[in-house]
């Protein structure tokens, strides 16, 4: 079985015999760092190490993809935010932003040669050279709303959603420009899949109606700019927004364990085709159904559970009809390798491989 073809087929809506098991979210774990000698924080900047750690779970556990980078701070850093890269078991964090308000936000002209953007581009090249046609290469990018949160502060942003929605729209538009710039740079190195993660637009933080009116149109525009396969990841209880996520026009939706797969699948039937009108993407609705990716708990089962518990959860997810198996969110660095192996084994057992 060609892992890359198999995954791309699923995302194109074709039927396959074996459900792919991948991760569209962060995959750096300490055990893999020790075995491959590619440690955080170096692997956040050094393209060789990023590529090594990004493909480590394929090499060590048979996970069917390479996935880089390991954080959601690349864009913010290239915009001029200060980032603490953390340690081998602590993920990078944005600590300071030079921007106070929407009108402050300036996009540097050399964005795609700033910060760690070149490292990511280089790491994609290395992975494509090494695995070329056999393994899908997934790059995670920050969604425009989450990036806005990095630039202006999440608490400030959430308050502004009600006090100054017009300012928020202006800020998100600027963040969208940044994301598009990044996507254009990425399209030159041709990753197989781009995963847009927009956790700040989760229903825990903003009103689902504002997801629809403010976040969704920007994600549609961003999606139209991505020429590879595209996946959207939003954390938390996404059920109130899953219908809107579905008709943004992405090939796959990645969801957490808080979302019921069966109920979500019913909503997905209402996915959409995107038409461009006057430079904006407009959803036509109805044509294509995004695939459901998830949702083996990364905070419980994969992190603290036993391999048997992982297997039971995988079986449930497959029976519920998940299209692509994956952790529900970024892996915790202390997650044991044997749990990732169990995830792949359980899929194999299910399909009788």
């Amino acid at each position: 079985m060609n892992l890359k073809e198999n995954l791309l087929k699923v995302l194109s809506g074709e039927n396959v015999d074996v459900t792919p098991v991948i991760s569209v979210t962060q995959i750096g774990i300490v055990e893999a760092m020790e075995k491959t000698d590619a440690y955080w924080p170096e692997a956040h900047t050094d393209p060789e190490k990023m590529a090594t750690l990004g493909s480590s779970l394929y090499e060590l556990a048979g996970l069917e993809c390479a996935r880089i980078p390991f954080c959601l701070t690349v864009e913010a850093e290239a915009m001029g935010c200060k980032v603490d890269l953390g340690t081998k078991d602590k993920t990078p964090l944005v600590t300071e932003s030079p921007f106070k308000s929407a009108s402050d936000i300036k996009i540097p002209t050399d964005f795609s040669s700033n910060g760690r953007v070149p490292s990511v581009l280089e790491a994609v090249k290395i992975l494509k050279e090494k695995y070329g046609d056999i393994l899908p290469v997934i790059v995670g990018i920050t969604g425009p709303f989450t990036l806005t949160g990095h630039l202006l502060g999440v608490e400030n942003l959430v308050r502004s959603m009600r006090l100054r929605p017009a300012d928020v729209e202006l800020a998100v538009d600027k963040a969208l420009e940044v994301s598009m710039e990044y996507v254009r740079a990425l399209s030159e190195v041709k990753p197989d899949i781009i995963c847009v993660a927009d956790p700040t637009s989760a229903t825990e933080l903003i009103n689902p109606l504002q997801f629809k009116s403010i976040v969704k149109p920007r994600l549609e525009d961003l999606g139209a700019e991505i020429d590879s396969k595209k996946v959207l990841h939003i954390c938390g209880s996404a059920e109130p927004i899953i219908k809107d996520m579905a008709d943004i026009g992405f090939d796959g939706l990645s969801i957490e364990e808080k979302v019921d797969i069966r109920r979500a699948k019913e909503e997905l039937g209402k996915g959409g085709k995107i038409m461009r009108v006057g430079g904006r993407a407009v959803s036509m609705g109805g044509e294509k159904e995004p695939k459901l990716i998830g949702n083996i708990s990364s905070s419980q089962t994969l992190f603290r559970g036993s391999p048997d518990e992982v297997k039971a959860e995988v079986k449930n997810a497959l029976e519920a009809g998940v299209d692509i198996l994956a952790p529900s969110c970024g892996l915790a660095p202390e997650s044991p390798l044997k749990n990732i192996q169990a995830m792949v084994e359980a899929r194999n057992e299910y399909h009788g491989i």
Partner: protein, 276 residues
């Protein structure tokens, strides 16, 4: 059966188009018309307009109401806090639980209420009498403090002297604060899977020093009940506004962490699916 009722039963409701602005703004039901909110909101002025101001997250209206009550009607600041500001916040919590209100609403209403409390404290000439001291922190390595800020806000609004240790707080600092302030309740929050592992470490360090807390409330983003219950001295907190109720039950009824775990729904006074 009327004509409309008959028609309705024959229509597939999922195919009915909803006018754009109705879908955006929701049906024209005002927050104060909700039956639960009506039960909570005070009937007499100026408490009613103060509470409604909080309900709408309208700081100006809230402050106007508070000032009017204090200056023109010579009401006691304590009464204004308890019968006006707090009632408004209770109504906000009710709408949040029902899924009509979201985090931005909670935050703006909280801001309005806290400004109102400050205004009352100015008249009191001192901080209003506090019930007891509590300590709140965000786990080491975690910068996400929206949840902790809400917890502190609810505790302060309910008359607790809530010590705010901030975000990304090293475990030693938490221990030091427990030694210094002798709180009746400590809350720890974390958004990330990677940082919630701090909680059992805090408990371990407390035990090493021979310190015993009535309870360490743990909650936030990826934190789950069975994780919190996998180590002693802790209780899983579901919503930020539950915190003062947990603190009250520790203070008044001398509840322990074991009892809090068992009687959670009863203590917070509502059905909590996590504890069902």
């Amino acid at each position: 059966m009327s004509y409309i009722e008959e028609l309705e039963s024959r229509l597939d409701q999922s195919f009915i188009a909803i006018r754009y602005n109705v879908e955006m703004e929701g049906p024209a039901i005002k927050p104060e018309s909700d039956p639960d909110v009506q039960n909570i909101l005070p009937k007499e002025e100026p408490y009613k307009s103060i509470a409604t101001g909080v309900l709408y997250g309208d700081m100006e209206a809230t402050l106007n109401g508070v000032k009017k009550g204090l200056e023109e009607e010579d009401l006691s600041p304590i009464d204004i806090i308890n019968n006006g500001l707090m009632k408004g916040m209770d109504a906000v919590s009710a709408l949040y639980t029902k899924g009509f209100y979201f985090l931005p609403d909670l935050m703006l209403s909280g801001d309005s209420m806290m400004e109102g409390v400050k205004e009352c404290e100015k008249v009191l000439g001192h901080k209003s009498e506090t019930k007891a001291t509590t300590v709140s922190f965000v786990a080491e390595g975690d910068p996400h403090d929206i949840g902790k800020n809400l917890v502190v806000m609810f505790l302060r609004a309910n008359g607790y002297d809530a010590i705010d240790l901030g975000r990304d707080v090293p475990t030693e600092e938490v221990i030091k604060a427990v030694e210094e302030y002798k709180p009746i309740f400590v809350t720890g929050t974390a958004l990330m899977t990677t940082t919630m592992t701090v909680f059992p470490k805090v408990v371990e360090e407390l035990k090493k020093k021979g310190l015993e807390l009535p309870a360490l409330g743990c909650g936030g983003g990826s934190v789950r009940k069975d994780f919190v219950e996998s180590f002693p001295m802790s209780v899983y907190g579901v919503e930020a506004y539950h915190t003062p109720k947990l603190a009250d039950s520790i203070l008044k009824d001398k509840k322990t962490w074991k009892e809090l775990r068992k009687e959670y729904s009863e203590i917070v006074g509502e059905f909590v699916p996590e504890y069902a």
